[in-house]
């Protein structure tokens, strides 16, 4: 024992080589997972992850850590369910405790139409092998004692959907776990290395100009969330994305009071309690485009109103911290995991407000797409050209507020 000194480094941080077989741009959860599965599942170990700041310093470190797979349409349900299955073995897989806690996720209904949508979605989930049940208000009042299930509430709760296998995970640990495991397989993880240009020749990617010099590579996977449009422009591409601030909040730590995740599309907020005791809260995006990693006060007020509608008991809890991330939203609330018109250039983006839950599955299918130059059947429907063909996957209902 050395009193928490002399810890070994979790990854090497080498200087970049002159050439790699593939480069992942973006060292968040999705990028690191992509690199890990490229090395592990596809044997591509001469690869690098380039991160402009520090690992997990973007949306990976800014989200509210909710995991679930109860999406309506087949394509989305299969993709997110693949991810939940990977979550279930992830701590063992990475030999790193990602603190995946299947504490369940409730999605409340406040109107008859909410309940019809919930029943439809629950049935669709079950047909797709995703665990999901409808829970009555009476049952909710037993399971979540502080939830205001009174019929006198301004927006009375009529029931909920419940996914028992959903829950939360430790966001930083996910980035660090994937980074350490990828590094152990030979992946070079390079921080403070911003990409400034994507070099091309006759419609093919040839390399990247970076803060640490030119790096030659035939394959580039861009996984940069809110900055995806900026990277796309470097390659002369346009994406169906808009970047918005999404704020999140934690309260001062309090004793255990909420042992699950509760979200409501109608009053528009969601809440869980971390193992440290702080209430972890989120709601909707700021409506204007923004890259500023901060939002407006009016959204904070709106969020707190929603939380107090569900949990009046929290009215005197003080908020401790508030921050924003930049989310890249797609018109159909589903991601882009896709080849592009530039050969060797791939994008994994558009996860909008709910990408954290998909971290391992996103990396898994993106690695397949890069390694084989064609999508896996799980992400074939998530190509950019669905916005040309019109084959959208409208998940605004299941994406809801939440995540």
């Amino acid at each position: 024992m050395s009193h928490h000194e002399n810890w070994p480094k979790a990854w090497r941080s080498p200087e970049p080589k002159k050439r790699y077989d593939a480069v992942i741009v973006g060292g968040g959860g999705h990028g690191l997972a992509s690199a890990y599965y490229l090395a592990k599942e596809h044997g591509m170990t001469n690869i690098a992850v380039l991160e402009k700041g520090w690992l997990g310093g973007g949306n990976t470190g800014r989200n509210t850590t909710i995991v679930r797979s109860n999406y309506l349409w087949d394509e989305a349900a299969h993709l997110y369910e693949k991810s939940v299955k990977l979550w279930e073995g992830l701590s063992q897989e990475l030999n790193y405790n990602v603190m995946f806690s299947q504490r369940g996720v409730y999605s409340l209904g406040h109107t008859l139409q909410d309940m019809r949508d919930i029943e439809r979605r629950v049935n669709a989930n079950r047909l797709n092998g995703v665990d999901s049940v409808v829970v009555s208000t009476e049952e909710l009042s037993k399971r979540i004692p502080y939830l205001n299930t009174s019929a006198d509430a301004r927006y009375p709760i009529l029931g909920a959907s419940f996914q028992a296998r959903g829950g939360t995970a430790r966001h930083d640990a996910v980035a660090w776990g994937f980074a350490r495991a990828a590094d152990a397989l030979g992946v070079d993880i390079i921080q403070n290395c911003e990409v400034t240009a994507i070099r091309r020749d006759q419609g093919r990617v040839t390399g990247l100009d970076t803060a640490k010099g030119y790096i030659e590579t035939p394959k580039v996977g861009v996984v940069v969330a809110g900055n995806s449009s900026v990277l796309a422009e470097m390659a002369g591409l346009r994406l169906p994305l808009e970047s918005h601030p999404l704020q999140a909040y934690v309260s001062e730590p309090i004793k255990p009071v909420l042992d699950t995740v509760v979200m409501s599309n109608a009053v528009h907020g969601y809440i869980s309690q971390s193992d440290k005791g702080d209430l972890v809260i989120g709601a909707g995006i700021d409506r204007y485009n923004g890259y500023g990693q901060r939002g407006s006060y009016s959204v904070i007020e709106h969020t707190m109103e929603a939380i107090l509608e569900m949990f009046p008991v929290f009215s005197r809890v003080r908020m401790n911290r508030q921050w924003g991330g930049i989310v890249d939203t797609c018109p159909d609330a589903c991601p882009l995991i896709s080849k592009t018109d530039v050969e060797g250039l791939y994008f994994n983006c558009g996860w909008g407000t709910g990408g954290f839950k998909a971290t391992p599955g996103s990396g898994w299918v993106f690695a397949h797409t890069l390694a084989n130059d064609q999508p896996h059947e799980l992400n074939a429907a998530f190509a950019i050209n669905r916005f040309i063909s019109g084959a959208l996957i409208d998940e605004h209902g299941a994406a809801g507020v939440a995540h």
Partner: protein
Amino acid sequence: MLLINCPYCGYRDESEFHYEGEAHIVRPSDPDALSDAEWGDYLFFRTNPKGWHKELWLHSAGCRQYFNAERNTVTYKFKSTYKIGESAPSGEAS
């Protein structure tokens, strides 16, 4: 809270306004003549710049007029607001 200068009402709180996305997107005059890619671009693809952006705003809880604005998406600072049909005061191409 942003303070937004409505060209009709003057400065008002952000909460009176609704953001309507990228400005100066012109509906194609003959949609049937477009390819799927051109129509898809009109409907779904956006410039999404990091920096100065031309945007459509609606003074939804005020005069209910649409207007355009030049705003920086990193600092969130407004450079100008101007009425529909006018060009941006900065004179840059839209």
